[in-house]
């Protein structure tokens, strides 16, 4: 007899038994011992058909291929730049992938990206030893000028962006701020100082309430109260 012990959206801790019997399959964050499926980390239960997986709620960012992140220039080498990815591993930005401009031999690389600059870049490769390569050729990949950087829990980034970007575009509309959300949990905000502050507070609220249903509506209410604008929730393709 198989039995499902965990419900959808339950918060489970390591070692908790999620299901008994062989009818269910262990997904991400779970493991099987004999007939039981157990939680392998702290997370939110998500059941998809027969598979049980856990959605992480906390933890540091782990670099993943094709993620768009915000990184900080940490060092300049002979071949390019070393980028701090807000994780345990730093990334290499080789000169040939850094800009669409032609960089002359022996050029002063600080002219392009100086130490301490923040850049939006895309992870192109991650090896088994977690050597990370990033590139900055592509739409939206640029050096960030002005504005401010805040750090959020990297696991909450999907909620800050919202379904098809609905949440972040709503904040942009309400505050007239430019916002870039990196998968690694760094967020860049640029706009009027008061509006920047409202944006920061809104993002903190999303972070706190990220596991709630109907979050977009609550955030909409909050933004309307703070900015006095009438807003509409719509998804952007």
């Amino acid at each position: 007899m198989s039995k499902l012990l965990a419900k959808e959206k339950d918060i489970v801790v390591p070692g908790e038994i999620l299901a008994e019997g062989m009818d269910n399959l262990p997904g991400y964050g779970t493991y099987r011992v004999n007939d039981n499926i157990l939680a392998g980390r702290l997370g939110l239960v998500s059941i998809e058909g027969r598979a049980i997986k856990l959605i992480p709620l906390s933890g540091r960012y782990i670099p993943q291929k094709f993620d768009t992140i915000i990184g900080k220039v940490d060092d300049i080498t002979l071949f390019g730049w070393r980028i701090n990815t807000n994780s345990a591993y730093s990334a290499v930005l080789p000169m040939k992938d850094a800009t669409s401009e032609y960089i002359e031999k022996g050029a002063d690389l600080t002219k392009y990206y100086d130490l301490g600059d923040y850049v939006v870049c895309k992870i192109v490769n991650v090896t088994s030893q977690k050597l990370v390569d990033v590139a900055m050729r592509g739409p939206g990949l640029k050096k960030l000028q002005g504005g401010r950087i805040i750090e959020v829990n990297a696991n909450k980034v999907p909620r800050i962006i919202g379904k098809a970007g609905s949440m972040v575009s709503m904040i942009k509309e309400a505050t007239n701020c430019q916002i870039v959300v990196g998968q690694n949990g760094l967020v860049w905000i640029d706009g009027e100082p008061e509006m920047e502050l409202i944006t920061v507070n809104t993002i903190r609220k999303i972070e706190e309430g990220s596991h709630l249903t109907g979050l977009t509506d609550k955030i909409k209410e909050y933004l309307e109260k703070e900015t006095g604008k009438k807003l509409e929730i719509r998804s952007v393709k």
């Binding site: 801790v13 702290l42 540091r60 345990a88 596991h211």
Partner: protein
Amino acid sequence: MAYKKRAENRGFEETRPIEAKVGVIARADGSAYFKIGNTAAYAAVYGPRNLYPRFLQNPQKGILRCNYNMMPFSGTGERVRPGNSRRGREISLVTEKALLPVLDLEEFPNSVVDVFIELPQTAAGSRCAGICAASMALADAGLAMKDLVCAVSVGKVDDKLVVDLDSSEESYEEGNVADIPVAMLPNSEQITLLQMDGKVTKDELKKVLELAKKACKKIYEIQKDALKNKYAVEKVL
């Protein structure tokens, strides 16, 4: 002459009152507080983060580094000399060995997970309190873990087998005392820490380990509740 009654009318198989809380240190990746009787422990987890000096790095998997520290004012009133001590280093090491079997750090080669355990108040059983707090903090930090780790000290005071010795029992002078700190994985019932001060017979050890098992299951429920409480849905906008 026999040991008849424990302080505060506690039963021989009863632990002191326990309090547990998760997420007490905002800037840490994971943190927890665990108090049993008058022994209190804070644990903060940082990482996985990059590890220097480089010769400590392990390209196969991440390493765990524990640090156990009693605060200067934490003891009986006599100042505990701050800084490294032989005892502190030993306890750091056994804590590490008690926690490592549940952790899966293979995803983080060349990196480190740091665990800092600070004790503001101690009255026996501090390494056990430290391990309990550290295992909650590791789960809070979102690391892949097979199970939580629960720890309690058991032993024998004069002729009685007891659970969770307090400081007066540890220094009981009218008879023999055995103090046996045990750390256990509550689901698989595997033991990850077993030390002993004093003398017990083989049969007594078996009996007392059964008592430890029961106490650990009770502690596990408290740890579980504390972890779930942090992520409970009540904290709404």
